[in-house]
């Protein structure tokens, strides 16, 4: 029986007497549970994920230990011996899924992957991630001393020149001789593309071909024989 408004004249008390919302009381009760917590962000090592809004993470004890799940993220469950281990496992699952899907273009995703991506990006602030997470690149360049008697700048093979900041570079970069070629792992700002840090370097032997050498290589390249059948793109 459903009776949304009860008048004074009603003599028989119905089982349903709906006059107020249970939501507020329930929310207040839930708030103090120690098996739930609100998260604003997640960090896995150097990787930082800011969340779009507060995310409730709930924990459940099991026969083997603990499991945890986050509201709005269906299909991801962390488990471990302690609540902390369960959350760490959940974080790794989300981190892995996010990084795999981040590298894919939308048309490369299967329907299931697309659904996961929609879920993840409805919780993780993708714009913040893209604009604040440094880019790690592998680059080849040549050390130059300029007017000082120590490595002063690197000219990368794309033509860009960056000044060396010794406090943001590995020590062995400073032992390079003039014109030494290096292969470097570089962290750059995702917006300005400025160097944040040169993480590591490897001294290499490298020869940058001149303009005439490049032209000669192109001219001497054997012509490819293509099938005469009609191409369908």
């Amino acid at each position: 029986m459903f009776c949304p408004a009860i008048g004074q004249s009603v003599t028989e008390v119905p089982s349903w007497s709906v006059t107020q919302s249970a939501t507020e009381q329930m929310a207040r009760g839930q708030y103090s549970s120690a098996l739930a917590e609100i998260r604003q962000d997640m960090r896995i090592g150097e990787t930082y994920y800011r969340l779009i809004g507060p995310m409730t993470v709930s924990y459940i004890p099991t026969a083997e230990g603990w499991t945890c799940y986050a509201d709005g993220l269906i299909g991801w469950l962390g488990s471990g011996g302690t609540p902390e281990q369960a959350f760490d496992e959940l974080k790794v699952q989300l981190h892995t899924a996010f990084q795999i899907l981040l590298e894919k273009r939308p048309f490369e995703m299967s329907e299931e992957e697309h659904s996961k991506w929609v879920q993840l990006t409805s919780v993780i602030d993708l714009l913040y991630y893209r604009t604040t997470t440094p880019l790690t690149t592998h680059e080849i360049g040549q050390v130059s001393f300029g007017m000082v008697n120590r490595p002063h700048h690197v000219e990368w093979i794309n033509g860009k020149v960056d000044r060396i900041r010794p406090e943001k570079a590995p020590g062995d970069l400073m032992s390079c001789a003039p014109s030494q070629w290096i292969e470097a792992v570089v962290r750059r700002d995702p917006l300005s593309f400025e160097i944040l840090e040169i993480e590591s370097i490897r001294k290499i032997r490298f020869h940058k071909p001149s303009e005439s050498q490049l032209r000669a290589a192109w001219d001497n390249m054997p012509a490819a024989k293509l099938d005469s059948a009609e191409w369908v793109w």
């Binding site: 103090s32 120690a34 098996l35 488990s79």
Partner: protein, 258 residues
């Protein structure tokens, strides 16, 4: 009826206070001081804060202006064993008991909560208790016998009913009812929700069943709070058995003779 494997995973008691009197300052420093003075055995304290952002757009202004204010909500800390948790806010104190190894009897939880809140009240110079509430969280695991799912009515006496011929089967649900006559001087809310599956290998359907009972009239002091908690617990204890079918109660392994 007593059970060898009760489904309870958490119980908590919440005390609320009036702020009409001259209470001491409450901020993060005060919370740290409270923890150091009264609850040194509780570790890994987390300070829960919230931020209010007001965005104003006035006619004639070139753009909106925003002001923000961070307010400190409460401190939350766990005992070394992880079985107890305390949460202290400006006018609220919560004692949580979590199931880690063995489940304590209600009177142990009640006494521990009353002892802890007494320390909080002394530190905060609060003496006007306005309300108290008792909460239980059960997690019931129904074994899967085949791939066809379960019928709620076989396991629960309280459940949402969705006509299968109109809507098909239910995949997940949250359901809450307020039960005014379950306990005297109290609002009781029973909420049931399905929990996510562990995947294809999961052999159980899990449900979280929350019982929230809050006092309605003012609770004068800690002795009155003790009496109210006892009556709320008795009401919950009686209602618990009525919420499940005998098949479901058998999963909790009733003691022989009950």
């Amino acid at each position: 009826m007593e059970f060898k494997k009760p489904p309870v995973v958490e119980a908590w008691i919440e005390f609320r206070f009036a702020l009409t009197q001259e209470d001491s300052k409450w901020d993060e420093d005060a919370a740290r001081s409270l923890m150091k003075t009264c609850f040194e055995e509780f570790v890994a304290a987390r300070f829960l804060k919230s931020m209010n952002i007001d965005v104003n757009m006035q006619p004639g202004q070139s753009g909106p202006t925003a002001t923000s204010e961070i307010s400190f909500e409460r401190v939350r800390a766990f005992s070394q064993s992880g079985e107890h948790c305390i949460q202290a806010g400006r006018n609220v104190f919560v004692f949580n008991q979590l199931k880690r190894a063995v489940w304590l009897r209600f009177d142990c939880i009640r006494d521990a909560a009353l002892s802890a809140v007494q320390k909080y009240m002394g530190f905060r110079n609060l003496d006007e208790l306005t309300g108290v509430s008792l909460h239980y969280r059960d997690v019931v695991a129904i074994p899967k016998t085949d791939t066809s799912g379960i019928e709620f009515k076989d396991w629960f006496h309280v459940y949402p009913e969705v006509p299968k011929h109109s809507f098909g089967s239910v995949k997940a649900f949250t359901f809450a009812v307020q039960l005014p006559s379950m306990c005297e001087n109290a609002i009781a809310i029973l909420s049931i929700q399905s929990l996510p599956s562990m995947g294809e290998g999961d052999r159980e359907f899990k449900f979280s069943i929350d019982w929230h009972v809050s006092s309605v009239d003012k609770v004068e002091d800690l002795e009155a709070a003790r009496q109210w908690l006892d009556s709320a617990h008795d009401a919950l204890h009686n209602s618990f058995e009525k919420a499940f079918t005998p098949e479901c109660l058998a999963l909790f392994e009733p003691n022989e003779g009950d």
